[in-house]
């Protein structure tokens, strides 16, 4: 899948997909390693945005370009916002209980 660049922006699809993949990996790395819950949430946001970049790329430069990719990414952004809102609410709740927003301190349940 090379060089399906559009008329206005002659950027190869591959580069955009690589950007998406990179973003996904950065997000994943953050989500797996960062100690602070807020950063973890932000990292997950990055992963979702990687998918968005893919969708938008494909909607312009895919095999069969169509609008639905962009529509999909709009939905995704909205849903992600809701997800993060709930995430922050849960974060607040746990902070009130434990006085900590470290991921490691979530250790009541184990084994």
């Amino acid at each position: 899948m090379t060089g399906l660049g559009g008329p206005l922006f002659p950027i190869p699809t591959g580069s955009l997909l690589a950007l998406g993949a990179l973003l996904f990996c950065i997000g994943l790395f953050g989500a797996l390693t960062r100690k602070n819950l807020i950063i973890v949430l932000v990292s997950i946001e990055l992963m979702l945005n990687a998918a968005n970049i893919n969708l938008v790329t494909f909607s312009r430069l895919g095999v069969n370009p169509s609008l639905s990719g962009q529509v999909f990414s709009l939905f995704t952004i909205t849903v992600a916002a809701a997800e993060i809102a709930v995430g922050l609410a849960l974060l607040l709740a746990i902070f009130r209980l434990r006085r900590s927003s470290e991921v490691q301190d979530l250790n009541v349940h184990k084994w």
Binding site: L32, T33, L106, K110, W111
Partner: protein, 634 residues
């Protein structure tokens, strides 16, 4: 009416559930009353179905619903009403009602009275459900259930070691037969793709019963014989008959209901139900005829010398079941069932009368009885009716049905079987009148026991009288008087005449048969009533034969030697293997599995990021394999 036939089995089931709910402390009157009323209702339903079919022979039907689906095959549950089934329903419910009534008196003051009735109700339900089963699988389930009920009831007085042993023996021996039946059913299913009778018969009669490793004809014979093995186990046919005499350890009403009239007849019913299969394979039918004949003779010979009143009647049952099988085997479908019908009444009568005697004198040994006739008029007369019927004296019921079977053996050209049947008939008349004279005539041999003997209450005598009437008139259902109604009725299941033959009456033969019976009775009278001939002397002169008969041809001992010892040997080897090798392996595996579980448990560290790492590690590995597998990355 036919569509309501399901009520017949369901009513006793309702009774069972109701008695279960009442518990073990329920009042005897309530328990017996409910049971009798429900079975009587069931009898009325059966009778209505029976007459409905008589009026309109074409209203037979199958009512099923899908139970499960296995790929292309499906299994249904439901009920089926045919002429054969309707007849069986009437027999089972009629005898059950009377036995339920009788048991009220017989089991009076037994500690587990309600439990007894629970088992009986469960049995009647299973037996009727067996009869109306529309396919072999359902039949098999209820086949096992009646076996279970029989086991429970034989061992009802489980505190008697003999009873517990007998229950176990009956269970094991009939299981042997059931294994045959089960294999037969599975083979039929594999080769015809269905458990339904009609489909199986269709395949069998058109030669489409096919498996890769056997020809259709051989398969028909093989399955026929396997089904017969099951029937032989249930119906106590040689060589699987050994459980039935021991089953007499159960309460006498149980012997009358299960081990004379209904459950043991289930084997005969099964052969009749599967008749098209047997007809399709002549060999299987011949096997049925010969096993039946041998059983008839063997049972009669052993019965000659037994001392226990119930055992004599039990061997008599074996012998009579042999007659039925022989009738079916020589192609006389209707006569076999006709004999089942009459036998149910006169044999239940003999057992109940014997029960009445045992209830009165508290012994089962014939040589401790005697002279009871004066104290127990009703029992004596009803027993006499049963004995005359069993002996085949004109015009009692047994005469008509037994004679038609003997006639069928003669006319179908089975000369050997004919002679076997006549000899057995002679013995039958002799042994049953031996019992009669020893019990009711002569002087009491044990005064102390005879002193308190008296007739039971009405609940015990009324069933006896009703059964005595039936033992007298039941034969008339298939005579010239009603234009041979029963055989026309039964043959309506197969208008093409595919199921068996009927023969015209043979008056000279009838005269011979009655003469044979009368000679037997006369001999018994000479030996035990007016002792002109000494039984002891005869026994001494024929001591070899006497001992052979008295010891039941040593069959129990032979079985014990062969079956039990081989069984023990194999069990020993298996046990060793199991205990020292398999067990070790299983233990090791169990321990390993548990340790694995513990190890896995500690992966749950509680750290959500560890969870994610493991998840993505899994994703990466599987993804890498998947990509490698497809061969090519982008």
């Amino acid at each position: 009416m036919v569509e309501y036939a399901w009520l017949a089995p369901v009513l006793p089931l309702v009774g069972y559930v109701f008695l279960l709910a009442l518990g073990r402390r329920a009042a005897e009157g309530l328990v017996a009353g409910v049971s009798v009323i429900l079975t009587f209702l069931s009898f009325l339903v059966s009778l209505a179905v029976f007459t409905a079919l008589g009026a309109h022979p074409d209203v037979t039907g199958t009512y099923t619903m899908r139970w499960l689906t296995l790929g292309a095959h499906s299994i249904d549950v439901g009920f089926q009403v045919t002429h054969l089934n309707a007849l069986m329903l009437v027999v089972v419910s009629a005898v059950s009602t009377l036995v339920f009534l009788f048991s009220k008196g017989y089991m009076h003051k037994d500690e587990r009275f309600p439990v007894f009735y629970q088992y009986l109700n469960l049995f009647v339900f299973s037996m009727m459900a067996l009869v109306v089963s529309p396919n072999l699988l359902q039949l098999y389930i209820f086949w096992e259930m009646v076996g279970l009920c029989s086991y429970l009831l034989i061992g009802f007085w489980y505190f008697k070691p003999e009873a517990a042993l007998a229950a176990k023996k009956s269970f094991i021996v009939t299981r042997l037969g059931d294994v045959g039946l089960f294999i037969g059913i599975i083979l039929l299913f594999l080769s015809s793709g269905s458990f339904d009778y009609s489909t199986v018969f269709q395949a069998a009669t058109t030669g489409h019963l096919g498996l890769s490793w056997i020809t259709p004809a051989d398969l028909t014979t093989l399955t026929g014989i396997l089904v017969f093995v099951g029937a032989a186990g249930k119906s106590a046919q040689f060589p699987l008959h050994v459980w039935l005499p021991d089953a007499m350890e159960g309460p006498t009403p149980v012997s009358a209901l299960i081990h004379a009239a209904t459950m043991v007849a289930a084997g005969v019913y099964l052969v009749a139900r599967m008749y098209p299969l047997f007809v399709a394979s002549g060999t299987a039918l011949t096997v049925v005829a010969w096993v039946g004949g041998i059983t008839a003779l063997l049972g009669a010979l052993i019965a000659l010398t037994q001392r226990d009143i119930k055992r004599v009647i039990a061997y008599s049952t074996i012998s009579q079941l042999g007659y039925m099988m022989m009738g079916l085997g020589v192609g006389a479908y209707a006569y076999g069932m006709f004999h089942l019908f009459t036998h149910a009444f006169f044999k239940a009568l003999l057992f109940l009368a014997a029960g009445s005697v045992i209830h009165a004198v508290d012994t089962q040994d014939l040589f401790e009885m005697g002279g009871l006739g004066k104290k127990m008029r009703i029992t004596q007369w009803t027993f006499l009716f049963g004995a005359l019927s069993l002996s085949g004296v004109f015009p009692w019921a047994g005469f008509w049905s037994k004679d038609s079977i003997i006639n069928a053996t003669l006319q179908s050209g089975h000369m050997t079987l004919f002679w076997i049947a006549e000899i057995a008939a002679f013995c039958t008349a002799f042994y049953i009148f031996r019992v009669y004279f020893l019990t009711f005539h002569g002087k009491p041999r044990d005064e102390s026991k005879m002193a308190h003997a008296h007739e039971g209450s009405w609940v015990m005598t009324v069933p006896l009288i009703i059964l005595a009437v039936m033992a007298f008139i039941a034969g008339l259902f298939n005579t010239g008087l009603n234009n041979f109604g029963l055989q026309r009725y039964l043959m309506a299941d197969s208008p093409t005449g595919l199921i068996g033959k009927v023969y015209p009456d043979n008056v000279p033969l009838m005269i011979i048969s009655v003469t044979v019976a009368l000679v037997g009775i006369g001999l018994a009278a000479l030996m035990y009533w007016k002792p002109v001939i000494s039984a002891e002397k005869l026994a001494r002169n024929l001591s070899g034969l006497y001992r052979l008969s008295f010891n039941k041809f040593y069959l129990d001992e032979i079985y014990y030697g062969v079956v039990v010892w081989t069984g023990k040997l194999i069990a020993g080897i298996v046990d060793f293997f199991d205990r020292y090798i398999l067990d070790l392996i299983v233990r090791m595996l169990g321990r390993l599995g548990y340790m694995g579980g513990v190890g896995l448990k500690y992966t749950q560290t509680g750290q959500v990021q560890t969870y994610s790492v493991i998840a993505f590690f899994g994703i990466m590995i599987l993804l890498a394999i998947a990509m490698f597998h497809v061969g090519g990355v982008f």
